[in-house]
Amino acid sequence: MNQTAVVSTSGAGGALGPVWQVLGTVLDPEVPALSVVDLGLVREVLAHDDGLEIVLTPTYSGCPATELIEQNVLAAVAAAGLGPARVTMRRAPAWTTDWISPEGRQKLFDYGIAPPGPVDLSEGVPMHFVGRTPSGRRLACPRCGSLQTERLSAFGSTACKSLYRCMSCREPFEHFKPI
């Protein structure tokens, strides 16, 4: 393929707005409340002479959804009749939950998953007992909003989540880990 980018965009406002709109409909297979754009997985869209190039970044090294996301992105672009397209994976800079959009955070919360706070590298001094409230910042329960919550499990149903419960409404909920 021709490597010369005719147009390069990193957001929905540019000339490739229709492509970004289509990508905004491709849901993450493991967190189907969010699109790959909401999650910040789409880093760039480029229009080459001979087709589109969609640049994705993986979340976790071992995330089993990575290949499925790639297939779904290509299928959506093809279904929308946007012409030939390919996906390239970009590993650096490493994906961070800070790239999840404000809309994405609201969707997570509405879906029942506590969104990640800002990444704080000073957190998590390794030598100390972490217990059920790993940091000073308490998570709000996505169901009732109570701050009386505690961590049940550092790891959850997917690589990106941990498990909490609310002491007020007694419901368990997931938390998207900040990385």
Binding site: S61, G124, P126, M127, V130, F155, G156
Partner: protein, 257 residues
């Protein structure tokens, strides 16, 4: 029966393979806990950490295959080498032991890998730096979780403290191998590919000393024993784990899901 491949023998390939094998073999080992961990949360934790390690191994083995110029892909390197061509330290191939043994080893290796990824984030090899930048985030979380459990066990019941102490006595002597320099370390440091593994020793020891102090265990005395897994001379356990890993690809060459 699929024949074995010979990996690249140049220093850069071997340096990346050694790290990839460390992630691969530990990932395989802790995956053995799937369905067997003492509580459900730790079953999930161990398999999640295994997934991260195998993801890191995939990236590193793929890259090693590219550096070597021999056209090997991640699967060929993971499944079609002979035992002597695996370069992981013996520490990660030891059987999983009890839960105390597993969490202490995870703490030792995660601390080591965290320090390694920090250094490799500045590698002259852009792909290796990118792999490290992502893996660093994962290793930090692994280290925090494993060290949390070391403290829980060391500060728990008499039985849990006894088991942790026994695990330390068994594991410590395998840590010396991590910080021995080989010829490939000199070349990697000279080219800017990555640090000599010995350069991480002081920081690793400081973090381990702080962890052990938290559970009132003395840092064990250094042993004259040196394991030799990184030179391909493995313990008697390595053949068994490779047999399990390799069976499918050897019996059904190129088999995919």
């Amino acid at each position: 029966m699929q024949a074995s491949i010979q990996p690249g023998r140049d220093a850069a390939t071997q340096y990346v393979l050694r790290l990839g094998d460390t992630c691969l073999i530990l990932g395989q080992r802790i995956a053995e806990w799937c369905g067997h961990a003492p509580v459900l949360e730790e079953d999930i934790a161990l398999t999640n950490m295994s997934l991260d390690l195998i993801g890191q191994a995939r990236a590193l083995l793929t890259h090693a295959g590219q550096i070597s110029g021999l056209g090997h892909d991640e699967d060929q390197l993971a499944f079609l080498r002979d035992e002597r061509d695996y370069l992981n330290p013996t520490l990660v191939e030891l059987p999983r032991g009890d839960f105390a043994f597993t969490v202490l080893r995870n703490a030792m290796v995660a601390t080591f890998l965290k320090l390694m990824w920090q250094r490799l984030s500045a590698s002259s090899d852009a792909e290796l730096a990118a792999i490290a930048g992502k893996a660093l985030k994962e290793s930090r979380y692994h280290q925090q979780h494993a060290c949390d459990w070391v403290v829980r066990l060391g500060d728990g019941t008499d039985e849990s403290a006894r088991r942790l102490k026994a695990a330390l006595a068994q594991l410590w002597r395998y840590s010396a191998e991590l910080f021995e320099d080989e010829a490939i370390d000199e070349q990697a440091a000279a080219s800017g590919l990555g640090p000599k593994w010995s350069e991480l020793q002081a920081d690793w020891r400081a973090e381990m000393a702080a962890l052990l102090a938290a559970v009132k265990l003395p840092v064990p005395a250094d042993s004259v024993y040196r394991s030799t897994g990184r030179r391909g001379v493995h313990s008697e356990h390595m053949g068994f784990i490779l047999a399990e890993m390799q069976y499918l690809q050897r019996a059904f060459p190129g088999g995919v899901w």
